[in-house]
């Protein structure tokens, strides 16, 4: 089964339709997704700023990792659950949104950055735990994280706009290719 067929089938399920057509449920889920940003991006940003040596230089980096990152993980779980529900409510359009696709790609990159930091950089934390300004590799990981998550916020916000939707033809060929539009059933 193709991805498109999968999302088309999701759209047929009654819960998807009900979530999409509900008066308040969709807005509440979306609000939770946005509000949790404060906890998720907020804690990510504070940790990154510490890695860059731009805030709270007197606090050991390991303290941030031990005491702040669990909140980040909690917030991420809420983001994933609420975000999945938002996709579930509008499956096909979201799957064919270049901003959603860009966001997923950026999420993979952000995930790689997390993996790189925790497997290669953080194990040696004892050597720079108390440094006000950590070594270069640490700062690079922090900067990548800040930039990637900001881009994820941008692309996530843009999903709401229909500039490049498949049912708004003609679009440049590159857009149709990237969005996976199928011209025959895209309302041309």
């Amino acid at each position: 089964m193709s991805f498109l067929a999968f999302f088309e089938q999701l759209a047929e399920t009654s819960w998807s339709v009900e979530l999409h057509e509900s008066q308040y449920a969709y807005s509440i889920v979306e609000s939770i997704h946005v509000w949790t940003l404060c906890l998720f991006f907020g804690t990510v940003a504070m940790v990154d700023l510490r890695l860059l040596g731009w805030t709270m230089r007197g606090v050991p980096v390991s303290e941030f990792a031990r005491r702040v990152l669990p909140w980040t993980v909690l917030a991420f779980v809420i983001m994933v659950i609420s975000g999945t529900l938002l996709v579930y409510a509008i499956p096909v359009r979201t799957y064919q949104s270049i901003f959603f696709r860009g966001k997923m790609l950026l999420l993979v990159l952000a995930g790689l950055n997390v993996w790189f930091f925790h497997s290669r950089v953080y194990p040696k934390v004892a050597a720079w735990d108390l440094d006000g300004v950590p070594p270069r590799a640490v700062k690079v990981a922090g900067a990548f994280s800040l930039v990637l998550w900001s881009c994820i916020i941008f692309s996530g916000r843009m999903i709401a706009y229909n500039w490049f939707d498949c049912d708004r033809q003609p679009q440049p060929a590159i857009i149709n290719f990237l969005a996976g539009c199928v011209p025959t059933d895209s309302g041309r």
Partner: protein, 158 residues
């Protein structure tokens, strides 16, 4: 007091009009506003969690609050710089929007509370884990900022 003439004037400013006439300006400014929201959340919560006896609870409150404050001021500035143009572009709608007024009143209260009572509490620096006055301060802070976030999100639904 009739606020309509003022809101009308805001709506008709060149900035408001430029944003309304553009396909993408509102979206881009709003995305900046969202990044600012996250940063503000971080700068507020890192201190409020500490006041609640969670997060960086081994660190002195005064140290955390001094470290977070420039980022709080910076991110709130970003919120104003991005939020005011958004407001100008739909000022008339805002005038009649209940969430907008909840947001403005919460924002005023949050700023006053943060830079008076909350600042005094953090500078006094309770060292033990979350004594009651510190916890109450954190809860009021979170409630007021949540009022701002609630209003902000729901302006868009009205």
């Amino acid at each position: 007091m009739d606020l309509l003439p003022f809101f009308q004037w805001c709506y008709e400013t060149p900035i408001g009009e430029a944003i309304r006439n553009s396909n993408w300006m509102f979206a881009l400014i709003e995305a900046c506003h969202l990044v600012g929201l996250g940063l503000t959340g971080g700068a507020v919560l890192i201190v409020d969690l500490r006041l609640l006896g969670a997060g960086l609870r081994k660190q002195p409150v005064a140290l955390l609050s001094a470290g977070a404050e420039p980022w709080l001021v910076g991110s709130v500035t970003l919120m104003f710089v991005s939020g005011i143009p958004l407001f100008l572009s739909e000022a008339i709608k805002c005038l009649y929007s209940f969430p907008f007024w909840v947001k403005m009143i919460s924002l005023l209260l949050a700023l006053v509370f943060t830079f008076t009572i909350r600042r005094r509490v953090t500078q006094a620096g309770p060292t033990s884990d979350g004594p009651l006055p510190a916890r109450i301060t954190a809860l009021i802070s979170i409630a007021l900022w949540f009022g701002v976030a609630w209003g902000g999100r729901w302006i868009g639904y009205s």
